[in-house]
C-alpha cells in the first residue's frame, strides 16, 4: 500500500468529471423522455386478426359492421362518437378520403346514442362505408379501445396492421397511413 502521508492524495481527474458525466446521462434520459408519449399505450392486437364481432347499423343507416366485412380489402376502421370533440378535428380528413374514394373507411360508433350519432353525421358529413353501433362499448373493449378517436388500419386478410391513437392529422395520413396502405396493396408488409 501507499506510504502514509499527511498530504491529501490528488483526486483522479475522472472522479472530478464524474458529476458532469452523471448530469449528462440524466440529461440524455430526460431528453428522450421529452418525445415519449406515455398516454399512448401500444396495442397488443397489432398483427392479429380483428376480433369477432357483429354490430348493428345506426338507426336509418344501412350497413352495420362485422368481422367478415373487414376481409378482402385494405380498409380503415375509425372509432368515433358524437360526444368526442377531437373526432371533429379529424373528421374533414375522412371526408377527404371518402371523396378520393381510395380506401374504404368504416366507423365504429363507440358508446353513443343512435340519434345523436346520426345527427352528428348529418351535420358534419358521413365519410363512412359501414358503421357499427357499439352502444355499450363492449366491442370497443374487444378492440382494445381506451380513448376516442382511434383508427385501425386493416389489411386484406382482416388483420390489424396498426393503430393510431388520437385524432389523425394531415401529417399522420400523408406520412404514415397512406404509405402503409400503398405498401399493403402491393403485397408488402407495412408497419406504422
Amino acid at each position: 500500500m501507499n506510504e502514509p502521508s499527511l498530504e491529501p492524495k490528488p483526486r483522479r481527474i475522472w472522479l472530478r468529471l464524474l458529476p458532469l458525466a452523471v448530469a449528462m446521462i440524466i440529461g440524455v434520459f430526460l431528453f428522450v423522455g421529452l418525445s415519449l408519449r406515455p398516454k399512448e399505450i401500444p396495442s397488443v392486437l397489432i398483427g392479429k386478426a380483428v376480433p369477432e364481432f357483429d354490430l348493428p347499423a345506426l338507426p336509418d343507416r344501412p350497413k352495420g359492421l362485422k368481422t367478415a366485412d373487414l376481409k378482402g380489402q385494405v380498409s380503415l376502421v375509425n372509432v368515433f362518437a358524437s360526444w368526442c370533440v377531437s373526432c371533429r378535428a379529424e373528421h374533414p380528413l375522412f371526408m377527404k378520403l371518402k371523396a378520393q374514394g381510395d380506401v374504404p373507411v368504416h366507423g365504429l360508433n363507440y358508446k353513443d346514442e343512435g340519434p345523436a350519432a346520426m345527427a352528428w353525421l348529418t351535420r358534419y358529413g358521413d365519410p363512412y362505408d359501414r358503421v357499427g353501433h357499439d352502444l355499450k362499448g363492449r366491442v370497443g373493449i374487444d378492440w382494445g379501445v381506451y380513448g376516442v378517436p382511434e383508427t385501425f388500419l386493416i389489411n386484406a386478410e382482416g388483420r390489424i396492421v396498426c393503430k393510431h391513437i388520437g385524432p389523425i392529422m394531415e401529417r399522420d395520413l400523408e406520412e404514415k397511413l397512406l404509405p402503409a396502405i400503398k405498401t399493403l396493396r402491393q403485397g408488402g408488409v407495412a408497419q406504422c
Binding site: 397488443v44 362499448g137 363492449r138 374487444d142 378492440w143 382494445g144 381506451y146
Partner: protein, 161 residues
C-alpha cells in the same frame, strides 16, 4: 342592470345544479354474491386504468374503468377463475394493464435491477473500504527505543529545571 346580471347568474348556477347527474360518477352494480363481489374487487385492484393511468380500475372514475369492472364481474360470474378473468383483459389491452408486471425477458431489469444495484453498491463499498489508507494513529505497536527517547525529549523529562 346589475340586478339583471345577478338574476342571470343565479339562474345559471341553479341550472348547473340540474346538470348534476352529468358530473356524477358511473355507479357500479355490485354482484349479489358477496364472495364473488369480493373476488371481483381483488381483481379490480390489480388492473390498471387505461384512461387515468396509475390508478387501478377499482379507484378510477373513468367510464372505461367502470365498464372493465363490470366485465370482470361478468367473467367471474360466468365461471372464470381470477387468472382467466385477468387474462381476458390482458389479451385485449396487454401487460400494460397489470399493476404487477409479469417477470419476462423485458421486465427482468425492472424486477431485479434494484437488487443488482444493491449488490454492486456493496461490492464497491467493500473494495473502497479495503483500499483506504491505513489510519495514521492506528498503530498499537509499542514505541521503539528511538521513539521513547524522542518522546522523553519532547515532554522535557523531569519538569522545569
Amino acid at each position: 342592470m346589475l340586478m339583471v346580471v345577478l338574476r342571470r347568474l343565479v339562474l345559471a348556477i341553479c341550472l348547473m345544479g340540474l346538470a348534476a347527474p352529468a358530473w356524477s360518477i358511473a355507479v357500479d352494480t355490485p354482484l349479489d354474491d358477496p364472495v364473488l363481489e369480493a373476488r371481483a374487487h381483488a381483481i379490480h385492484k390489480q388492473l390498471r386504468c387505461l384512461v387515468c393511468q396509475n390508478q387501478s380500475i377499482e379507484d378510477s372514475n373513468a367510464t372505461l374503468a367502470r365498464d372493465l369492472r363490470m366485465l370482470v364481474r361478468e367473467r367471474i360470474t360466468a365461471g372464470d377463475s381470477d387468472d382467466a378473468a385477468i387474462r381476458f383483459i390482458v389479451v385485449r389491452y396487454g401487460d400494460w394493464v397489470l399493476l404487477r408486471p409479469p417477470v419476462k425477458s423485458g421486465t427482468v431489469l425492472l424486477w431485479f435491477g434494484p437488487a443488482l444495484l444493491l449488490i454492486l453498491a456493496i461490492i464497491w463499498l467493500v473494495i473502497s473500504y479495503r483500499r483506504r489508507r491505513p489510519p495514521l494513529v492506528a498503530s498499537t505497536a509499542p514505541l521503539s527505543a528511538d521513539e521513547q527517547a524522542r518522546l522523553k525529549a519532547l515532554l522535557g523529562d523531569g519538569g522545569p529545571t
